[in-house]
Symmetry: C2
Subunit: 426 residues, 2 copies
């Protein structure tokens, strides 16, 4: 891609109504634009990142044996009445009426729709275990949408639902999703904790949250510095614990001491048990030919929120520092004298073609701006590797390779190509 062709409206100044760094940088880097409170348009650069996160999620979900479906955003009231959540849910469930005055809601989650699907289409224990997922637009009418796409109203989420006949099988399904979530967040390249949590409005027996650690996290979590123990302090407050007394206190598992950290909840996994299948009569014939209600699990991961969380954990004063797995482009070529010096222009274009043929996602900065402006924008949008060609190329055949994390090295065109070929083959 040529920089002059991409719709990439970067901003010099920090927008006033953006409180957290990820929101500021997503606006400044031309990734998103606001349409209404908590409702955004994803521009080409932002969408590239979103799709990369989505693909990682899809690949790991498929590898786990889960199967992809696509449920609707608009859901009929009747299903939500069966579980009594039509009344139980607060105004975050946006209720709407169609032209025939029939009641619907915008789906904030899909337990009702999937339970209805399973009760109508799965008849025997032989068809189990089953895990269905979707990557789909959700709507939650947050009372105070904030932090850009971190707590928006319309957002992209992967939600999945498992169906088993006995506890042992449910445990397996749950642990498989737990491992899958670890794989997803590790592949995205983020530091995270698995945290004991409250089941809230979803209900059910047990649940854990996945938190990306970041200073601006909305949640406070108590973690051990000597083990994997971690708990959402909300749960401790409910139990009447005094948070101040925890600091430095030994971890309940006997390993290490408790530290208080800030986290962004990007995933939440639940063992639902029979809450929904009892309410909606979702059963199959068991080994003895008798009807038995299903055990369910549900598992959510915020795809758009992961993008913001990645930025919260990876940035500096100049902009975003993308993990390579989700960078919108991998390589940026800046040629000082592009379109003026014939040799440099030719070398830059040839290098661009080389990177494309090596399979890199490359962007060439063909704009008329100077080196300073170009590097400022490159650092703002966070491209991992910048290849710089200038007068040293003419004089000494030297090219500079500048990593977004600050490292820099000098080599010939061939050196640079060799390095990149090496990386691509790894």
């Amino acid at each position: 891609m040529f920089w002059s062709k991409i719709f990439l409206p970067t901003l010099k100044d920090t927008p006033q109504d953006a409180e957290v760094i990820s929101h500021q940088l997503m606006l400044r880097a031309g990734m998103i634009r606001k349409v209404a409170s908590g409702i955004y348009t994803w521009l080409p650069l932002g969408l590239r990142v979103l799709r990369k996160v989505e693909n990682i999620v899809r690949e790991e979900m498929n590898a786990s044996g889960a199967q992809e479906v696509l449920m609707p955003m608009v859901q009929p009231k009747e299903l939500w009445e069966e579980t009594k959540r039509w009344k139980k849910m607060g105004p975050e469930l946006l209720r709407i009426q169609d032209r025939h005055e029939r009641d619907f809601c915008l789906g904030p989650t899909h337990e009702e729709v999937i339970t209805d699907l399973i009760r109508n289409n799965v008849k025997s224990y032989k068809e189990l275990p089953l895990n269905l997922y979707q990557i789909q637009t959700k709507f939650r009418d947050e009372v105070r949408p904030r932090y850009g796409v971190m707590r928006g109203r319309e957002f992209l989420m992967k939600d999945s639902y498992s169906f088993d006949l006995n506890e042992e099988s449910l445990q397996k399904s749950y642990m498989k999703m737990r491992d899958t979530y670890k794989n997803i967040i590790s592949r995205v390249g983020l530091e995270f904790k698995i945290v004991k949590a409250d089941s809230g409005a979803i209900g059910g027996d047990a649940s854990e949250e996945f938190h990306v650690l970041a200073e601006n996290g909305e949640d406070t979590i108590a973690v051990s510095n000597g083990s994997e123990f971690a708990i959402n302090t909300e749960l401790l407050l409910k139990k009447g614990e005094d948070l101040n007394s925890l600091e430095g206190k030994p971890s309940p598992d006997g390993k290490g001491v408790i530290q208080i950290k800030k986290g962004i909840e990007v995933g939440h996994i639940f063992q639902l048990g029979r809450v929904y299948s009892d309410a909606m009569g979702s059963n199959v014939l068991n080994h003895e030919g008798k009807k038995e209600n299903l055990l369910m699990g549900c598992y959510g991961i915020g795809v758009s929120r992961l993008v913001a969380a990645a930025i919260e954990q990876n940035n500096d004063k100049n902009g975003i520092i993308w993990p390579e797995s989700i960078a919108p482009y991998e390589v940026n070529i800046v040629a000082i004298g592009f379109d003026k010096d014939e040799k440099i222009t030719k070398a830059a274009l040839s290098l661009y073609e080389d990177f494309l043929s090596m399979g890199y996602e490359v962007i060439l900065d063909d704009r008329k701006d100077g080196y300073g402006t170009k590097m400022k924008d490159a650092e703002l949008i966070g491209i991992p590797m910048n290849v710089i060609i200038g007068k040293n190329y003419i004089e000494k055949k030297e090219i500079e390779l500048k990593h977004r994390d600050g490292q820099s090295s000098i080599g010939t065109l061939e050196d640079i190509k060799t390095i990149f070929e090496h990386f691509k083959n790894k």
Copy 2:
């Protein structure tokens, strides 16, 4: 994929409330299930087809130079008031209120949102021409949703919007999209006509529709049998023409005579001119540094509707006959004696691995059912190629290759592999 693992609830009987063949077959083949009137869940098999159509659309749009964005489904009233469409649109525009009693609608189309984006982010003619597209869920509150996903209320659509400064440039953008749509529908593998049409609620100067020819088409079109001339008869009726008098009449372009056909509208392209940019003040600085309102085009293609249209055009009494480009799987392996005869089981599994490593999307029917049931299901879901291993494999090393279109041939394991390798390399 093993057939026993996929969530694929096929139906033996034709559901009573499904009027057209595509709706019947999508239900019977376990592709979709109804959630509410005009609102469906896509099951794994259906979603595979939907994603293939989506990918063809995305690849052709990217090849045209258009850039992908993602706009929200929930849109604020304020934008629709600027174009006066908040009042002008009928009840198919589903209006909703959030918890703070602010008015929104579920987006049936995105002219307002994109025009707002462009007026806030594009300042100069140097940033033009620009074509932005999205593949996104739309909602239209149809008075009588019918024919399954063909005329549903919630559906998947690709919509794009072009921005130019002068007529010549708009013409170029329009013709590029016209060619792109021809490429898309040709790649999907369908017979279609480009039809002169009415601009309807979208407005603007000129528009053409893309119709997939099919007996159950909702539209009636008059086409020449000697040229590419085609017109929606709606337009002729508005002009006061008597449709009966057209049959057999010479085509207006002097080539061939008029025939009446049925078509399914899968795409619609519009030259909007300045309708929206005048209403919303979307302008850029021109070559002389003066503000000038932009010329727009808008271009829609029904992604979910294309799936149904493909079935309407390609089916027989036994089920769907998928064009290879969008088949959910390319190859189905049926082994008579699977899990009973060791040699046959081994050969089937080995063939399965071979197809996978050749890059084919293959499904192996490992269910306990008999040959008849397996072939009935294979024909119903429309897999293009069935590879059948039975006692002839043990006795004579023979395997049967049965195409969904009826052709059949016999060969050795090596023959079959050679044929498939040949196809894959083409």
